[in-house]
């Protein structure tokens, strides 16, 4: 293997992690890389700095049970390392092996498959090292230094604490990476190509969602940690974040043996993940190479399980065209589905935090939280669609809509809202229905579902008030000022919307006629809104003022 060829291939594969087909030129590799590294490093630094007052207070006066507070703090760093690395690896899921484009371009060159294999492995190693360092290095250096005033850290010494922190967070990241990459290797070996292509996007979406859940549910499992350690339930050993918190205590012992046992379990799990990765990734590579090139491009797409289920929703031909286009684009575009899955996972996590109440470390269900949970998720679903519709699927192909545009702003608005209802609100409410029926009973549960549909439709009208676009056809990103404003509005919006709507729901539950009145009122308001919507603004296919946005003047 010549070093030039290996170096070129490694560089090429590494750059491909940051440039996929959806990014068309623009920023260079370095910019993307630094942005990613900065994004990964910031939470660790901020968390370490936020712990300073607590550490100083404990250094001055070691209060009772402080060891558990410190353990929860260490759990955060392990959880962040595990979740961020896992999320990044799932995000790069399609790039873990060389893809079809790589093989089509590289195969006619005098490059052996072994060289491609070695270079790809090296690029993966560089990616892993970058993620691990960015996620953990600042906190791994900062935290031991600021914790030297603590009694147990003083006793252990700086070197030991540094090693403990680095081992705990580094192993969490390594396990996440190896487990995800090993899982793909296993799937490549076990599944036939057709099944792999079918299952792979679902696994990627589920994996990214799980990683978001594992990070955002940190407050919950952090608060449960002490009571779980006392009860020793077997299922505690299923949470990787606990393992790597325990790994710290192999170096610097804390109270109780339970966490050290979990630490050893973490080491064994990482070793198993490494073995699976080595065996399956290497074996899968050759298989992947052959079948990627020989894959049938022209296999007909399978028909939907429910063909035309929502075809009754749009009325006019233009509306029907936009509606079907939005539905088919979302069904066929993995990047849009991944984006929505991440968005919904955030809402789902906040929902779980609101619905689970802890009494003396024991989890229970809060009745008000149970009412707010679907509303929280609905907020993220509708706002997620609002944002996803603004990412163009194939921007160069929007000429079809442009040459056919004959003043159909009304059709675009109606089709967009119906698409949100069909693809977002109805599936979300249906997914919650079993929980609603189980928790509230069948009558009340069905009433809640109806209420949620109405609330979702009203929310869609509000969030899509100023949306003069055909979904997925216009690259329109708000300026920086807008983004800050939007972030604040969203934070205020989702908390207020969810909890105020939950209160309204409780009030409506008290009397049956109130619910009927709300449903009828919603229908009247929505119909009136549709009529009153200003028809003046035409459908836009380009950014409103590109020259101003380019100069960041908006």
């Amino acid at each position: 293997m010549t070093s030039t060829v290996f170096h070129e291939l490694r560089k090429l594969f590494f750059s491909r992690f940051f440039h996929n087909e959806s990014s068309a030129g623009g920023d260079g590799l370095e910019t993307s890389l630094y942005q990613l590294l900065g994004l990964l490093a910031t939470p660790g630094i901020l968390a370490a700095m936020a712990l300073l007052p607590t550490f100083f207070a404990i250094s001055a006066h070691a209060r009772a049970g402080y060891e558990w507070e410190l353990r929860a703090d260490r759990l955060f760093f392990a959880a962040w390392s595990f979740s961020a690395t896992g999320f990044a690896t799932f995000f790069e899921w399609d790039m873990l092996f060389p893809d079809r484009r790589d093989f089509l371009i590289l195969t006619p060159f005098p490059v052996r498959p072994a060289e491609i294999f070695g270079a790809k492995l090296a690029a993966l190693g560089m990616l892993l090292a970058g993620i691990v360092a960015a996620t953990n290095l600042p906190s791994a250096l900062l935290l031991p230094v600021i914790s030297m005033g603590l009694p147990d850290a003083r006793q252990a010494g700086l070197a030991r604490v540094l090693a403990a922190q680095a081992a705990s967070t580094g192993a969490a990241a390594l396990f996440a990476f190896l487990a995800v990459a090993g899982l793909q290797g296993l799937m490549v070996n076990v599944l036939n190509p057709r099944l792999f292509r079918k299952v792979s996007p679902a696994v990627q979406m589920a994996g990214m969602s799980l990683m978001i859940l594992s990070l955002l549910l940190f407050p919950l499992y952090s608060m449960m940690m002490r009571s779980l350690a006392a009860q020793h339930p077997d299922w505690m050993a299923l949470f990787p974040c606990y393992w790597f918190t325990g790994l710290y205590e192999i170096f610097v012992p804390g109270p109780g043996l339970r966490f050290r046992e979990l630490g050893w379990l973490g080491i064994r799990a990482t070793a198993v993940a490494a073995l699976v990765f080595c065996a399956c990734w290497a074996a899968g590579f050759r298989r992947h190479y052959r079948r990627t090139l020989e894959a049938e491009d022209t296999a007909p797409r399978r028909r939907s399980l429910f063909p035309g289920m929502f075809d009754w929703m749009p009325d006019e031909p233009g509306e029907r065209g936009i509606f079907r286009f939005a539905v088919r684009t979302l069904a066929g575009s993995l990047k849009h589905r991944l984006f929505l899955a991440s968005y919904v996972s955030v809402g789902f996590s906040f929902g779980i935090l609101s619905v689970v109440s802890l009494r003396k470390g024991q989890p229970g269900i809060s009745a008000f939280g149970a009412r707010a949970w679907p509303m929280l998720v609905l907020f993220f679903v509708v706002s997620g669609f609002r944002t996803a519709f603004q990412f163009p699927a194939e921007p160069a192909c929007n000429w079809l809509f442009r040459i056919c545009d004959t003043g159909w702003e009304r059709a675009a608005a109606r089709a967009t809202r119906k698409a949100v209802l069909a693809m977002g609100i109805l599936p979300a409410v249906t997914a919650f229905l079993p929980f609603e029926v189980w928790y509230w009973g069948i009558g009340t549960g069905l009433g809640h579902a109806l209420f949620e549909v109405c609330a979702g439709v009203l929310l869609t009208e509000v969030l899509f008030w100023n949306f003069p676009h055909v979904p997925f056809t216009c690259a329109y990103s708000p300026g920086r000022v807008h983004l800050v404003f939007l972030a604040g509005a969203y934070l205020y919006g989702f908390t207020n919307y969810a909890f105020r709507m939950a209160e309204l729901g409780v009030w409506l539950d008290a009397k049956g006629f109130r619910m009927i009145g709300f449903v009828l009122g919603s229908a009247v308001v929505t119909a009136a809104w549709q009529r009153l919507r200003r028809a003046g603004e035409p459908v836009r296919f380009e950014s409103a003022r590109p020259e101003l946005e380019a100069l960041d003047l908006s």
């Binding site: 030039t4 440039h19 068309a24 005098p110 490059v111 052996r112 052959r290």
Partner: protein, 255 residues
């Protein structure tokens, strides 16, 4: 000399290329013709190593290319049908990548790449990402990458697709100049006039099988037809195209 012996490709039960044999000689431009889906690109993909043949052999200078695939690829230049390129690279960066993967000297790569880009009217666009290139510009980058290492065998799969008139003319002269330097050229195209003008020999494939392999003159004489278009229509198109066009016209006028 490149010999293709009994080349066959099956996808499950479907035979796409069926027992295809022909010889490509140095200094000769061989046209490879056939309607869409006849097996042309599949044959080429087997030649360049993108697909493994189900049966048959490819011999280069008398040796099976499977014995030394990298050695064969060092002598091969290929312009694919689809402009598969890393679109975030600039034209120059792509040529540098191609040169390095072919093990060329760094100084030579930069000099040749820059000069090729200039000659192919891409000098000003050399630092622009390929994502911003037109179809014809991408095609010219692929042509430059195929020529960078001065290969002995050249395979052009619809290489003139998207080229403007001037660059189309340049490409035609380039084919002839390369043949004059003794290069072995396989040229796939649907532009029959161009094939007729530049190719010394024409192979016609239909439904995976070779139905004709002769010089253009030889075919004209054999089939007693004046042009390659008529020969091609006679060999592979059994449908009444004028009748079909009339049916389309009638259909779009219907309610």
């Amino acid at each position: 000399m490149l010999e293709i012996c009994g080349l066959t490709k099956r996808f499950r039960s479907l035979t796409v290329v069926d027992n295809v044999s022909f010889v490509l000689r140095p200094g000769e431009i061989t046209g490879y013709l056939g309607p869409n889906g006849s097996g042309k690109s599949t044959t080429v993909k087997m030649l360049v190593g993108l697909l493994h043949p189900s049966a048959g052999r490819i011999l280069f200078r008398g040796r099976d290319i499977r014995e030394d695939p990298a050695g064969f690829k060092r002598c091969l230049g290929y312009v694919p049908e689809e402009p598969n390129l890393y679109s975030y690279l600039t034209g120059l960066e792509y040529l540098q990548l191609a040169g390095r993967l072919r093990g060329l000297e760094e100084g030579g790569i930069n000099r040749k790449a820059n000069e090729l880009l200039e000659l192919l009217s891409l000098g000003e666009a050399r630092w622009v990402p390929i994502s911003a290139y037109s179809k014809g510009m991408k095609q010219r980058v692929l042509i430059a990458a195929a020529l960078l290492h001065d290969p002995d065998v050249l395979i052009f799969d619809e290489a003139q697709s998207g080229l403007d008139i001037a660059n189309g003319l340049l490409f035609r002269h380039l084919l002839q100049a390369l043949a004059a330097r003794g290069k072995t050229i396989l040229y796939i195209s649907h532009v029959l006039e161009l094939v007729e003008k530049v190719c010394s020999r024409v192979i016609v494939i239909y439904k995976g099988r070779i139905v004709a392999d002769d010089s253009v003159e030889g075919m004209r004489g054999l089939m007693n037809l004046p042009s390659l278009e008529e020969i091609f229509t006679q060999l592979v198109q059994q449908v009444d195209m004028a009748g079909r066009a009339g049916a389309i016209s009638a259909l779009i006028g219907a309610p």
